[in-house]
Amino acid sequence: MKSFSAALAAALLLGAPSAALAQAGAKGAVKVGVLLPLTGNTAWAGKTNRIAAAIAAEEVNAQDLAGGYKIELVFGDSQCEPRAAHDQAQRLISQEKVQLLIGEWCSSASIAVAQVANDEKIPLLVNISTADQIAGDAGPYAFQSSMQNRYAQQREAALLQKDFKFDTVAIIVENNDFGLTFRKNMTALMQKAGKKIVLDITQDRNDTNWYSTITRIPNAKPDLVIVSISAVQAANFVKQYAEAGITTPLFSDYPPPPRIFERQVGAQAGKIGLTRAAFFIESDANTPAQKEFVGKLKARVQKDLNEDHHPTHWDIASYDAVRLVADAIKRGGPKPADYLKAMGATKLDLVMGHYEFDAERVVKPEGLNFLIIRNRPDGTLEVVQ
């Protein structure tokens, strides 16, 4: 008898989760469009972002995290290019009939997507682009879940004042929106702190030759060089900086994520002792959620792309975005007005940290992961803050 009731209990218990699964999707599927660069010069980042988002959707559906709705992701290749982003956003909305949007990666493409989302009245979650004005410019349908440039830069300025002894500073930026806002914000912050700016250079972002700029540094004799140069150009700059044998301390606004950047110019960065901001780095200090994510993503990328991948904060942003969308659906449902209200009331702990939005629909920076790291000469990274 005992074994029978045990078996019955076991059968009931086993049956219970599948009953719950039968609930998931009972309210139907919600199509969510995701715009990412899947071809073109940023595809190396977009491809893994896509996988991270897909993992999130699978979990949402398996664990019924969307309040009975099933999430169906539809991807659009926006190539980090405004025209393609515009057309793809259109396609996802009118052909694929997505009800919600996530994207994009590059700021110029995000502008295009934001415009379309606003016109079509489709809620958009800007999850990777950190441009300062997007959520505001794009109107009431856009939320931004990535830490905005100015918050990142405030933290960077605070660190600089605390950890570096300097009276004169050189500011070198690219003429894209990161670089220009960095220059604007940092100039104001530096002047307020009484530091003298001895060199102020804005370089064309398509120009890979940094030698001219670097040549001017020893002449201006700054105590510290701060730069905002993104992705590949950052690696080019660091390489040329190291080769020029300059010993002035160098601080950088976030170049490509750790590991990718280290693979490119780790030795040079170590030689300089580069200090930089980063949103995420794989380490023992990671939260359990982060460690779990790293494991999942690495395994899947190994399986799908046969690559040994080190998760980047863009991957995390893609994953978290899908989870944020699911959570808002759970609390409010997929209809725009309710969804937007629910999104505004978000209080959720995900891989990047704690998500809450302010009155302007921008994520509050306090809860999110943000570190300052430094390259040691032996090639390893240390977390400064």
Binding site: H86, I93, Q115, N118, D137
Partner: protein, 301 residues
């Protein structure tokens, strides 16, 4: 006579077809038509007058940003668009002054330089254009897509007709073509080839500016990346595939080369689709040396 009526009926049906399309495809048609205005500017400048230009994206950008900036400041969009076209024409004139003395590939590279200069100006004049931060929410909304399609169709047909008239019936057309074929003979006949080239530059810049203004009004956002030299190359590519001297071929090429890559998406969100695109361009060039326009001419006969 009845054959003519049939042709007109077919064209009318074809023209009305997009009105039945879903949002996505009608959007493709509209952007293709806007694009073809820039292609027309190449047809006029290079096809008709024989002047190579790789800087047309500069004029498109000038037209677009003038409308965008002025409209956002509160000016009525139509007026802003008009200013855009006029400013583009002025720049075309100014570029023409030195450029009219250049020949062949020197002209091509010179105009390329102009295009790059405009692109960098748009990117760096952050106070005016917001540079890489871009312009969002240009206040030209409230016009539905079907209306946009009819607007673009009318504009394109008007320009097509005008170009056809210039090409076949007007003295200006003859003069332009003479300058293309044999500049020295033209000069010997007493034609002020310098003035002629200047006119060609100015008018074609205006066309390109019109394309830009309409683009800004339609998509309602702008970033400088939309007007880099790759765009200029694309206009030239479209024009040659369509047949450099054939605006009709140009509009067809524009429609085809915009819609076919979209259709190719079924091959996957991958590089293969772009490989097919490049190969298609090559195939057209190999087998249709006068482009699509040449094919049409042959079919006519």
């Amino acid at each position: 006579m009845s054959r003519r009526i049939l042709l007109i009926a077919a064209v009318a049906i074809l023209a009305a077809l997009p009105l039945t399309f879903g949002t996505f495809w009608i959007n493709m048609v509209i952007t293709a038509l806007i694009f073809s205005l820039a292609v027309f500017s190449v047809n006029l400048l290079t096809g008709l007058t024989g002047l190579l230009s790789f800087g047309q994206a500069g004029f498109v950008g000038i037209g677009a940003y003038t409308l965008g900036v002025l409209a956002k400041q509160g000016h009525p969009p139509i007026l802003a668009g008009l200013y855009g076209v006029l400013l583009a024409m002025l720049c075309g004139f100014l570029l023409g002054l030195p450029a009219a003395r250049l020949k062949g590939h020197y002209l091509a590279i010179g105009t390329l330089g102009f295009g790059i200069l405009v692109y960098q100006l748009l990117t760096n004049s952050v106070e005016v254009t917001r540079g890489p931060m871009g312009l969002i929410g240009i206040p030209t909304g409230g016009v539905d897509r079907q209306t946009w399609y009819l607007i673009m169709l009318s504009v394109c047909l008007a320009v097509l007709a005008a170009l056809a008239y210039i090409d076949r019936y007007s003295a200006l057309g003859v003069i332009l073509k003479m300058v293309r074929h044999d500049e020295i003979a033209a000069q010997a006949s007493g034609i002020n080839t310098f003035a002629v080239k200047l006119i060609a530059f100015t008018v074609s810049a205006g066309l390109a500016g019109l394309s830009g203004a309409l683009f800004a009004a339609y998509v309602r956002f702008l970033t400088p990346d939309l007007f880099n030299e790759q765009e200029s190359f694309r206009y030239m590519m479209m024009a040659v595939v369509g047949g450099i001297g054939s605006p009709l071929g140009g509009i067809i090429a524009s429609l085809m080369l915009t819609m076919i890559p979209e259709g190719l998406r079924m091959l996957g969100e991958d590089n293969y689709r772009l490989l097919v695109y490049g190969t298609m361009v090559l195939f057209v060039l190999w087998f249709l040396p006068s482009g699509i326009g040449g094919l049409i001419d042959r079919l006519r006969r």
